[in-house]
Symmetry: C2
Subunit: 202 residues, 2 copies
Amino acid sequence: MDFPSKLIQSAVDELAKLPGIGRKTALRLVLHLLKAETEETNDLAAALTKMRQDITYCQYCHNISDTDICSICANPLRDQSSLCVVSDIRDVIAIENTGQYKGLYHVLGGVISPIEGIGPSDLNISSLLERLPNSEVKEVILAISPTMEGDTTSFYITRKLREFGVKITSIARGVPVGGELEYTDEITLGRSIVERTNYNKL
Amino acid sequence: MDFPSKLIQSAVDELAKLPGIGRKTALRLVLHLLKAETEETNDLAAALTKMRQDITYCQYCHNISDTDICSICANPLRDQSSLCVVSDIRDVIAIENTGQYKGLYHVLGGVISPIEGIGPSDLNISSLLERLPNSEVKEVILAISPTMEGDTTSFYITRKLREFGVKITSIARGVPVGGELEYTDEITLGRSIVERTNYNKL
């Protein structure tokens, strides 16, 4: 695609580097910015630059944060005895949005994936092991996606955590709420029977 | 959606103002930028700001341009006797990419739409009428989308252009190349028969 302007060309090129944005979408965004107030473009550019420059990661849980210690770790009202291990910052946001969890987090920064060359040492696992002895954590909840890489990571962490004598649990795998039994794949349906919930305890 | 960082929050807010980008997509883009080099964010922000600040519109054809007169209008090799009227800058890029047109352009900046409150005076029509007498233009090609608003605009311009004694044509409406006759809507198929191409002339 040839553009009548080098300025447009370079703006489209930069936008098209973002995931899921092709050159046609990038051009649409650029033409939108051209039609909108100059302020909108400046605000966008400033927010992105400031975000990238000033963002830090919590030194305890590796969650994104504006300060050295994130608002979750710094909150004394959070349950200090539960630690939820997730692979990504997005998972923290997703779990926070459920409103069902009041404990702490630990962000691994990925999952073990030999194909992509990601080993245990590339993840925030050692800091998890260092963090546990000095904490009040009694239960570690593994909230890692049930893919092959995710399950490998959960298994690896489970083995490493055994010596600490903490309770290790995993988020439940089963039929999604609103899902139909007959359309659920066999492995999920199988696990949902094996790991069935005891309603007497409710 | 609550974010653990105000920096992330404002970056997501700004990105989500763009058309077709919701808050989930915006978060994905922000997390991508966080994982990529700082340079990528800075380059993106700089390209957008510079584009918005320095862009000008060609004083003849209203196409976007880095200079007062765009590269098409300034090119003496372009056919000065044809003028293609389009509604949007995107249409110029689309027609240029076909490589089938070597004449000049005139960008209206929209189409007449009473529902959206866009009248003829909101478009670059008066500059088109001023431009014609002092030019070598012999044929005006109307390349406006065949929607109700587009056809209204074409009709309005045709009436205004009559006094100039130039040839007025419209891009052909018909069955798209690669399209199936049986799946083409009746109006398009009807027009494609009425405005059939004479193969004896080819």
